[in-house]
């Protein structure tokens, strides 16, 4: 398969970026998207040019490192997968593919397609934990948890922190990310104790970092590689409202 790639190149955080066009030929349909970029990078290195920088690590869809805004979709056109799980068979021979970095004020570009997502760590730092020290905790079976709650908590906890929700949201809102964490803990007895402070602190941090406001467009849910539902955003809204009222 042959492709025309239009890729965002940016030397560093301060530099002005631009799109560069690359042609790549003879790509196998079984090749993953990142492997295709690996091949392109090797060709660039052969020409003593700087390869394209992009974040990636586990290459099996769980670490959340890979990003890339591909033809108007974070993680590309396939559903329920990350970029590293996207395969070239999802494109047509001869396609033009536009590859952009995540765009959001709190996710500044570091280089080319690499962005700084440490804002997510700061949000977790603000309250995405249960305050227990190591040791001195009760037996794991001391507090039964209804299976359905545990399962719903797990649905939320599946978040890989990739930032696709922010990238796709027309408002660059981080609500789905924050909701996934708040919701996970709100559903479990272990997390309920601090539910109030958690919701308030995490939302305050999210706002402070300059993420946009949720307008319930549902784009995050549609593009989330882990299919996290916006029902968790509703739960976050509830948690936040009750935390402020009570």
């Amino acid at each position: 398969m042959d492709f025309t790639l239009k890729i965002w190149r940016q030397e560093n955080a301060k530099a002005k970026g631009r799109f560069e066009t690359y042609n790549i030929t003879g790509i196998s349909a079984d090749c993953s998207f990142l492997e295709m970029l690996d091949i392109l990078n090797q060709q660039l290195i052969d020409k003593i040019e700087k390869p394209i920088c992009f974040d990636h690590d586990c290459r099996e869809g769980i670490c959340g490192a890979c990003s890339l805004y591909i033809n108007g979709h974070p993680h590309g056109p396939d559903t329920g997968v990350t970029t590293c799980q996207l395969h070239m068979r999802k494109f047509k021979d001869g396609d033009t593919i536009i590859i952009e970095p995540w765009r959001a004020k709190p996710f500044p570009v570091i280089k080319d397609l690499v962005v700084d997502r440490s804002a997510f760590d700061q949000i977790i730092e603000a309250g995405g934990f249960v305050s227990v020290n190591t040791g001195g905790v009760p037996d794991a079976n001391a507090i039964p948890v209804p299976r359905v709650d545990a399962e719903t908590a797990m649905d939320a906890a599946a978040c890989i922190g990739c930032g696709a929700c922010v990238a796709t949201c027309k408002n660059a809102s981080a609500m789905l990310f924050v909701a996934a964490k708040v919701s996970q803990f709100a559903l479990l007895p272990q997390g309920k104790i601090e539910a109030k402070e958690r919701a308030i602190n995490m939302v305050a941090k999210m706002d402070e970092l300059g993420f946009g406001n949720c307008t319930n467009t549902g784009a995050c849910e549609a593009e989330c590689p882990k299919n996290i539902s916006i029902s968790h955003i509703a739960r976050l809204n509830r948690e936040y409202l009750t935390a402020n009222i009570s």
Binding site: D30, I45, S118, D121, E151, M154
Partner: protein, 646 residues
Amino acid sequence: MTQLNARIPEGPLAEKWNNYKASQKLVNPANKRKLDIIVVGTGLAGASAAASLGELGFNVKAFCYQDSPRRAHSIAAQGGINAAKNYPNDGDSVYRLYYDTIKGGDYRAREANVYRLAEVSGSIIDQCVAQGVPFAREYGGLLDNRSFGGAQVSRTFYARGQTGQQLLLGAYSAMMRQVKLGRVKLYPRTEMLDVVLIDGKARGIITRNLVTGKIERHFGHAVVIATGGYGRAFFLSTNAMGSNSSAVWQIYKKGAYFANPAFVQIHPTCIPVHGDYQSKLTLMSESLRNDGRIWVPKKKEDVEALRSGRIKPGDIAEDDRDYYLERRYPAFGNLVPRDVASRAAKERCDAGYGVGSGLAVYLDFKEAIGRLGKHVIEERYGNLFQMYEKIVDDNPYETPMMIYPAIHYCMGGIWVDYELMTNIPGLFSIGECNFSDHGANRLGASALMQGLADGYFVLPYTIQNYLAGEILTPRIPVTQPEFEESENSVRERLNKLMQIGGKQSADQLHRKFGLHLWETVGMARNRKELEKAVKDFSALREEFWADLRVTGMVDEFNPELEKASRVADFIEIGELMARDALQREESCGGHFREEYQTEEGEAKRDDNDFMFVGAWEYAGQGKEPILHKESLIYENIKVQSRNYKI
């Protein structure tokens, strides 16, 4: 050659850890504040250690190469975590977990460490639940357990197919809480490039900021290395692209012993290689073997027809299928341990019965779907099947999956004593990057257990025994000549890498080396190949330093430079692996020497001559490393040969 002393506490096995804790030295709270600890790596071991040490009141600096600590490769573990809770009332106990681990490790693990691991395993589950880890639960609200990797008891706790992720996020959250409280300082996108020793003690590290390329110095009263395994040396593995062993290799070069480097685990159920552009293999959870049956065709003509696409696997009659694991190991069948299953697959493929590209076997769910119904299989493995389909574009409900073994985990690693301290005072190694608990083969669902045991419940105790002697040591300024020297050597090396000006990229050289490593120090090894490999790797090393091409600059975000630096280390590790494999003239666990097998092709262990840990000491560039031995003594378990036939 010297005998190593692991400083195992006195007393009966079951009381050693309690005795140790009762008599160890502790650091009082006022002094903890004055002590700095460096933790490199934020996987299960690193993050849990950083969190726990922070909670105790130490000043912790945590480093990781990823953009966030939450992305460490522990996150990719699927199956579960073992713990001797005996919730299902099926006869599990601390002793049995210890027993299974020692036996599964083919009697090459240290008894006292393994027993301690089994002892603290239950607390890990308690801790994780308290952190809000959403483990799978029964309808009654209590935790669910499953049997894993052929264990006779159900002791595996799991969170769907994402147990590693959930446990890591738990540890990460706990660490982020300490970041908020100011007790842990985080350094993401930072790579350790050297350890600094002052008067023989570990006192700090030299790092490179991966965004700016800035070289920085950091002081610590103790340094903890938790950077995982060296499986990525093979180029193709299930490890993350960035997984590396550079920290481990730097401390080895500074004098820390490297134990059993030849012990690597090859996981039997990975998606086969599909193209030479590939750089990463994907693991399919071992749990698939609970219901899937592994087979290849019996007849060569069927193999030919399958490879050419003339027939489909479903066209092959039941009688013409060779369920080779069930044939060879009637008692355990498809649930034999990983090393056995992997070798059996290789044996069939080498004999010419491999399907697909020739390096694949079938994992067939047809029988299970017939017996249990599609919905049950979907419930159990739905997400795995989906993942397979996304990658391979084949529906495993209809066509059998194709699988092949791949490098997955390293049992070998930095030698540590009972306190998880290396032979360098103040330098600790935890998690996969130490060697201690899995012997020659690791059981499924035990890696998570070990990482968290080390980080939550072992290191926070044992490190105090060392630090109690350091309370009078003030923070050493990083302007000391030792830091200066170390930083200079790091700079020199990076500049050298940049200036080679050759033709091949780090990836090209890595691929060439890794595939050679796989062929010679992979699933089956022999003297002739290993001896040649040692020479070849040394030649490859020279080729690397003569023909490498690194684009970009040293003081910028430069993944090519990162890769180059890591590959340089991998090649040297490969050589050490080959030496260790050569030295160990027996077959045990993941280490299979073709010269040492029974007539039926089973591994032949030599307990008389090789019941020891082989720990290598660096002797300098171009010099043969020195082998030290730690004898393994089993007082509480009868050493027997592993038999999965009856």
